[in-house]
Structures are given as structure tokens and as C-alpha cells.
């Protein structure tokens, strides 16, 4: 086994609000190898974006990382701000959800793409812009229609996301984090952007951390997934295995609540498409998380012992050297998909 590129061991993200502290993200154990594709799935507020921002060292001011977080063997938590700046954009890059607001409206797209290379590789403006031109071609924005001196407001959402991707891959990072890269886009454009990401990851061999709530996207794009709920990983394993088994009731619920999942579910003859099953209740707010399984209140299979302790992420199965684990006292047995 090769050395992991990114390793989180017992990593938590702590939020200080006034005098109280709370863990937005708790006890994350995750590894990501070079060239591997990991999906992080969960509802809004499950802590998936915070996990990504923790890796980038861009957490909001009142948040702090606890536990081990290392990148290529170096402990990120102990990194000085200046050293972290050398990592960001060079070794690790991030694509954000909102292409409409994530680009600077008063700088040309050429300057924004070239910026990273000038900063990290010390390229001259001319060299970096030549490279930016090549990057724009690479992400499907060819000259002369898409010149470097265009401004973000002259582009559509999908085109802006392509510019974001060009910016992210400008310095050929080892790790690419994509936080809901297609959520804000039209469905038709979503597929194009995912295809582009897929192709780039394939070509460059960068590791991908794809954050999404869309199960269809993870099933197509990733090798492994981690399902997060209320700040914890509640199920993880090879994407195929997790999709086949869905040992945690929440993972199952997420699946049944997604149009993609419903479409995959076997249809009875003579019956219409089954209704989507919304998961009842809401994600507990970080300040009011129970001292037991945080899904217990919403779980259809809840048992008395579920309210006694927080379940550990137990091993369920090992497939191709990848462990399938779920944090449930009563993991589901039956396979979901055919």
C-alpha cells in the first residue's frame, strides 16, 4: 500500500461561540491516496464542507482543527500560515459551489487563472497567461470566443465553473477538492462539468475529494465514499459496496430520498415510480447533538440501545483491501440495489 496523500485521524473541527465550544465535525478518520477519488456525501449541515475547508486551512475564524490532519506526511495543523499559503493552490486546490460569486467580478478571467502560477511558480505575466490560455482550451473554453480578457459577468454559470476548474488545476495540484461543483448549475450543464472533472482527474492523476449531496454524482465519479451525518462519518467503504448494502439506515434514507436512488430501485410491474421518501425530522443542530446515535430521533429502525451511546464506526466487510464500515448498532443486512 502506498503512503496516503491525505490522512485524518480522529480529526475534529471545534467551533467556539461565546464561552461554549462545540465540535462541528467529530472524530473523522479518512485517508486519501494519490490518484484516488473519494466522495463525501451528506445533507446540508452534516459537516462535509467544513471537513474540506479544514483540509484547505480556510476554516472561519472561530473554528479550529483538533486531532491529526496530515498532507503528504506533513502535519497541516502545525503549518505556519506562510507555509500553508505555499500548499494552497499549489499542492491542494478547491473548486467552490457558487461559480456566480466565487470569481472576482473586477478581474479578467485570464488574470485570475494566471494568478496562481505567477504566485507559486514565479512565472512572468506573459508565461502565466500563455499557460492560462492553454488551460482555458483544456476546460473547453476555446479562443477566440473565450478570450483571457473576458470578465466573469460575460460568462454563463457553467462557463464560470469551467474557469474555476481551470484555476484549480493551474498548478497541477496533488489534491483537488470539489465542493458541490455542480449544485448551482443547470442539469444539462452538470453532466458536462462532471465529465470534464472526470477527464481531468483521469489525465492528471490528481486525487479528488468530491463533496456532494447528490448520490448519482458520487456513484459515477468516485472509488470510495464517506457518508456524513451530524458531523460524523456514519458509513464508509468502496462506493459499489456502500451502494449495494447501505448498512446505515441514514445512508438508506438518503438513497431513498434521492431521485437517483428511487430510479435505481426495482419497480414493481403495473406500479408507477415509487414516491420519494423524505427522511422525517431535521439534522440536529451542532449545539444540541445527543450523547447517543444522533440519527436515533429520525431512524425508522431505532432500538432502545441506540439511545445509550454513540456507535463506533465498526467494520462490516472488507472488499479489495478497502474496509466497509458503518456507525450503527443495528446495521441493515439486505442489499439495496439489484
Amino acid at each position: 500500500m502506498t503512503k496516503p496523500l491525505l490522512r485524518m485521524t480522529g480529526m475534529s473541527v471545534e467551533l467556539t461561540a461565546g464561552t461554549s465550544q462545540v465540535d462541528i465535525v467529530c472524530d473523522i478518520d479518512l485517508e486519501l491516496k494519490r490518484g484516488e477519488r473519494l466522495g463525501i456525501v451528506g445533507e446540508s449541515g452534516s459537516g462535509k464542507s467544513m471537513t474540506a475547508l479544514a483540509v484547505m486551512g480556510l476554516l472561519p475564524q472561530r473554528m479550529r482543527v483538533r486531532g491529526e490532519l496530515s498532507f503528504d506526511g506533513r502535519n497541516l495543523a502545525g503549518l505556519s500560515e506562510a507555509d500553508y499559503c505555499d500548499y494552497r493552490g499549489r499542492r491542494m486546490a478547491m473548486i467552490f459551489q457558487e461559480p456566480m460569486t466565487a470569481l472576482n467580478p473586477v478581474k479578467s478571467i485570464g488574470a485570475q487563472i494566471a494568478e496562481g502560477r505567477r504566485l507559486h511558480l514565479g512565472e512572468t505575466r506573459a508565461d502565466a497567461e500563455k499557460r492560462a490560455r492553454a488551460l482555458l482550451d483544456r476546460v473547453g473554453l476555446p479562443a477566440p470566443r473565450f478570450d483571457l480578457d473576458l470578465y466573469p459577468h460575460q460568462l454563463s454559470g457553467g462557463q464560470r465553473q469551467r474557469v474555476m476548474i481551470a484555476m484549480a488545476i493551474a498548478c497541477e495540484p496533488d489534491l483537488l477538492i470539489a465542493d458541490e461543483p455542480t449544485t448551482a448549475l443547470d442539469v444539462t450543464v452538470q453532466a458536462q462539468i462532471l465529465d470534464l472533472l472526470d477527464e481531468l482527474v483521469e489525465d492528471t492523476g490528481t486525487a479528488l475529494m468530491l463533496i456532494t449531496h447528490d448520490l448519482g454524482v458520487v456513484s459515477e465519479m468516485t472509488d470510495r465514499i464517506a457518508v456524513m451525518y451530524a458531523g460524523r462519518i456514519i458509513e464508509t467503504g468502496r462506493t459499489d459496496d456502500v451502494f449495494a448494502r447501505m448498512a446505515h439506515p441514514y445512508a438508506r434514507g438518503l438513497f431513498a430520498a434521492s431521485p437517483h436512488g428511487a430510479a435505481l430501485a426495482p419497480r414493481q410491474a403495473g406500479e408507477g415510480r415509487p414516491r420519494l421518501n423524505a427522511i422525517p425530522g431535521i439534522v440536529p443542530d451542532p449545539f444540541g447533538r445527543p450523547p447517543h446515535c444522533s440519527f436515533a430521533e429520525r431512524c425508522a429502525y431505532v432500538q432502545p440501545d441506540c439511545r445509550r451511546a454513540i456507535p463506533a464506526l465498526d467494520l462490516i466487510n472488507t472488499d479489495e483491501n478497502v474496509e466497509h464500515r458503518a456507525a450503527c448498532f443495528h446495521p441493515r443486512e439486505r442489499m439495496v440495489a439489484p
Binding site: 484547505m56 480556510l58 500560515e81 506562510a82 499559503c85 505555499d86 500548499y87 494552497r88 493552490g89 499549489r90 486546490a93 478547491m94 467552490f96 457558487e98 460569486t101 466565487a102 470569481l103 472576482n104 467580478p105 473586477v106 478581474k107 479578467s108 494568478e115 496562481g116 504566485l119 507559486h120 470578465y151 459577468h153 460575460q154 460568462l155 474555476m164 484555476m167
Partner: protein, 316 residues
């Protein structure tokens, strides 16, 4: 971009004309007959009538307006009633005092405001922010003439770094003239900087919260790199708006400050012309001041187009 500038130019000319009409009408409704003022209360009615004819006051109001504005356009502003010299000759040397004073004050205001505003925004909520903004709050409340007196006391009388009043003229070199403008410029510019600094602070704080700042940081820019190359250029748009608005306060301020420092500038000329009921001079000067405010706002619009490509470059 060309049509943008063209449209602004048309509106510049129209606004100036409207301003001139308003100024002219205001002067007409002011009580007091210039001829009576010039000849004295007990003057012979025939002499007054003769002077009326000489000044053109016996003609209908619209003829007088057209006559005046026609001369205005070609630079012939008419004769001053009190000095009996062409107003143009009064303006020349005085513009050379007021224009440098205004530009210097503006520069001081902008530089100080951006420095304190960006500093306070970058250190939001910390001691530095509180101190700087506390001082700025006091600065907003201080009237410029009082600040001018304080400066005269400290820098002119006590330290003797600058002259307390008067203008040395430009003949003895740039520094000679500038030297007498420095205190007035600070007295005029600093209170404006206090307001502009507060605007800058809130504009920078607002842009620092934008998504593209996080994008810049994710690219590897340091906190200050993202601040100066991404946040500040975006925050300049509202700041430039306020600079344009402040220019009229600045001109009003020169009237006071030039009197405090006894500078022979436009502001002082306006003040004297009003005191002496030199109506032609007053209406000419006020219209010129209005035109310069309108011109500055035209320039501000141009700067907008440069600062914000969304205004000057249409979408596809």
C-alpha cells in the same frame, strides 16, 4: 464604452445648464438692486436708470440670461460690479490657489481614508480597529475651521513649520506656494478623510466576506495579498462614489478655509462678492463651482467604468 461616455457628456452639459438657470434665477429674486447698491441709497433716480441701462438691467430676464450664459460659454463672464474689472481677470490667479488646495485636500483625504479604512477592516474588532475608528469618529465631528485654528496654533505659531496665513505665490517655486497650502489642505482634507475612512472600512469588510476572497485564499494568496489585490479593488467602487459626493463639500470648505488662512482663492472671492452684493461675480462663480462638481461626477462615472468592468463591458 464610447456611448457610455457620450451619454454622460450630454447629461453633464444639460445639468450644468440647469444649474446655471437656477443660479441666475436665484440672483434675480435676491432683494437689493445692484445699481442702488453701487450708487448709494440717496442717488439720483436718473443716474440709477442710466446705470440700469449700462448694466443691461432694463432688458427682459431671458435676454439677460442668454447674454450672460452666451458670454459664459466663450469664457467672457462679464464685469465685476465692485472691482470694475473683467471677472475672468479675477479668476485667473485665484484658481491657481484654490485648485491646488482642492486637489491636495482630496489627495490627503483619499490616501488617509484608504489607509485607515483598509487597516481597520483588516483588523476588524481588534484594538487597532477600535482606536482608528474612534479617532475617525472624532474627526467626523470636528468642523474644519476649528481644526484649522488648532493647526495654526500648533504648527504655525508653536512649531513655526508653516505660515499661519497668506499665500506666498507660485513665483518663488513650487515649494514656496505649496508650503502655504499644506496646513489648509490638511484642515480641509482630514475631516473628509474621517468620513471616507469609515465608508472604506465598511466597504472592505463587506468584500472580505465575499466568496471570491475565499477563492483567492484557496489559490494560495496570503491574507494581505487577498486583501489588497482582491478585496480593495472591489471596495473602491462605493469609495469613489463618496469621493465624488465629497467634492462639493470640499469646495464649500474652501470658502471657509481660505478665509481662515487668508488665502486669495476662489472661495474667498465668492465670500467677498456675496458680502459686496457683486451679483454678476457671485452667479458666475457659483455656476463655475457647480460645473466643476458636475465635471468631477462625470470623471467619477468614467472611473466606475474602469473599476467595474460590469458597467463598461456588456455581457455576451
Amino acid at each position: 464604452m464610447i456611448s457610455f461616455i457620450g451619454g454622460r457628456l450630454v447629461s453633464l452639459v444639460l445639468t450644468t445648464l440647469v444649474a446655471s438657470v437656477i443660479v441666475f434665477l436665484l440672483m434675480q429674486v435676491l432683494p437689493g438692486d445692484p445699481a442702488v447698491l453701487m450708487l448709494g441709497m440717496n442717488a439720483d433716480p436718473d443716474a440709477i436708470a442710466a446705470l440700469h441701462r449700462q448694466l443691461g438691467l432694463d432688458q427682459p430676464i431671458w435676454i439677460r440670461y442668454l447674454h450672460w450664459i452666451g458670454g459664459f460659454v466663450v469664457g467672457d463672464f462679464g464685469m465685476s460690479l465692485t472691482y470694475s474689472v473683467p471677472i475672468r481677470d479675477l479668476l485667473g490667479p485665484r484658481i491657481l490657489v484654490t485648485l491646488p488646495l482642492a486637489l491636495l485636500s482630496m489627495a490627503i483625504s483619499v490616501v488617509v481614508a484608504i489607509a485607515i479604512g483598509v487597516y481597520a477592516a483588516a483588523n476588524r474588532g481588534k484594538a487597532g480597529d477600535t482606536v482608528v475608528m474612534g479617532i475617525a469618529q472624532v474627526g467626523v465631528a470636528i468642523p474644519n475651521f476649528w481644526l484649522a485654528l488648532l493647526f495654526i496654533l500648533l504648527f504655525a505659531l508653536k512649531l513655526a513649520w508653516f505660515p499661519a496665513s497668506g499665500f506666498a505665490g507660485w513665483d518663488g517655486g513650487i515649494w514656496n506656494g505649496l508650503h502655504s497650502l499644506i496646513l489648509p489642505a490638511f484642515a480641509l482634507g482630514l475631516p473628509l478623510a474621517a468620513i471616507l475612512g469609515r465608508v472604506t472600512r465598511s466597504a472592505v469588510i463587506e468584500t472580505l466576506g465575499e466568496d471570491f476572497i475565499r477563492t483567492a485564499r484557496a489559490k494560495g494568496l496570503s491574507r494581505s495579498g487577498a486583501l489588497w489585490t482582491h478585496a480593495v479593488p472591489n471596495a473602491l467602487i462605493p469609495v469613489v462614489t463618496i469621493i465624488g459626493l465629497q467634492f462639493s463639500f470640499l469646495l464649500a470648505g474652501t470658502i471657509i478655509i481660505e478665509n481662515v488662512f487668508n488665502l486669495p482663492g476662489i472661495g474667498r472671492l465668492v465670500f467677498q462678492a456675496i458680502a459686496q452684493r457683486d451679483l454678476v461675480t457671485v452667479q458666475t462663480l457659483v455656476t463655475l463651482l457647480a460645473a466643476s462638481v458636475i465635471t468631477i461626477n462625470f470623471l467619477v462615472d468614467l472611473v466606475y467604468g474602469y473599476l467595474d468592468p460590469r458597467l463598461s463591458r456588456g455581457g455576451h
